[in-house]
Symmetry: C2
Amino acid sequence: MSTVDVDSVERIDGRRARGERSRRSILEAAAVLASVEGLEGLSLNRLASHLGISKGGLYAHFDSKEQLQVETVRAAAEMYGRDVMAKAVEAPPGIGRVLAFADTFLEYVKDGPFPGGCFFIASFLDPANLRGPVRQALAEVQRGLLDFFAENIRIAQDAGDLPTDLDPEETAFEIDAILVGADVNYVLFDDPKRLENARLAVRRLLGADPGS
Amino acid sequence: MSTVDVDSVERIDGRRARGERSRRSILEAAAVLASVEGLEGLSLNRLASHLGISKGGLYAHFDSKEQLQVETVRAAAEMYGRDVMAKAVEAPPGIGRVLAFADTFLEYVKDGPFPGGCFFIASFLDPANLRGPVRQALAEVQRGLLDFFAENIRIAQDAGDLPTDLDPEETAFEIDAILVGADVNYVLFDDPKRLENARLAVRRLLGADPGS
DNA sequence: CAGATAACAGACCGACCGGTCGGTTTCTTA
DNA sequence: TAAGAAACCGACCGGTCGGTCTGTTATCTG
């Protein structure tokens, strides 16, 4: 609304800075709680009291629960990008990168910030989130992961590390399925053996040495 | 409570017979609705009005929502036993039986009575059902399925259809993971191609001909 | 026929839901 | 210093939740 400084780059607004910090901590807490209670099962009252604020305070940052859910999905994607994908891309493209992602993902399921297993897998099948913008946000993340797998499989094929008659999309589906199955079984049985099952399965699928 | 006829086999009580019919239709409807709205998200009011009865009527058959949930899990297991497993065991034990199960399961996901995909996978990841008797009932079903896969893999090994250095538990995990991954991706993307992905993946895993 | 019993209907309860609103504090800006 | 914006509190709204209680009706038993 001001006339001159359209963006006011240098001066930081202490109020907005505080708001931004609150917003980030709200979204991170929402993602963590949602992995346990579900994106829909997470109530605004519980989220607010867990953060030590009031429900009205939440509505200073979000217009509706649905908007909060959508932004929570994006926040969770950022967390995975920072904690898992960043580690994966340290490995060279191809088989190594896929294995690095799988290993880091499985560790993240066990010891990461989400006590309910993978945030996204828990959200995919929460039937309440299967419509509308929340579903679309979730589908975009999953689509990106499948593309990541397929791309690196093509790179591995070009490098001669994988047979060329392999369908990258098919193999990407199988890798994803193994990780999804590991998470589901791990959460259901509370048994880390399922994660080791998945580690071996991915290696067998890519014809890699079972020892890291 | 009666003194003589402890079981009253011959005479049927028209009231109890009606109750038993109601009970069955309640549980089947609950299973179908739960695949869409989740076992926890399914409310007693909606279930009752969907059946054309009142909420009080439900409590003539079940003491609590939790008991209804547990019995719904068992009812869904019976539906899968009748519609999927029964067809699988028509095939001879071993690889054929596993393939028959996988194919029938994938068809069931697409065209079966559960519009929300597999009832159990939808329930596994509903974080609200991850505690208490409901979780235990779900885990038992999953445990039984994994055992079914492992047992038939051992049979296939004994018959020389699969290499003996294969770990049956590991392979059972992988087959299950493929089916879980197919369901999750199918529901998320509403794309039947995922089911074909899974069909091929199971065949590749068991070294079977891609054509049925 | 007269109970007893099972299967309901429907009103109701306290708790919690997402969401709104007015007021207060804190900080920035003119 | 006065005005205004942002962050947040706390009370409140209509509605739904799981669960209870009191009938009422149909059926079986004696």
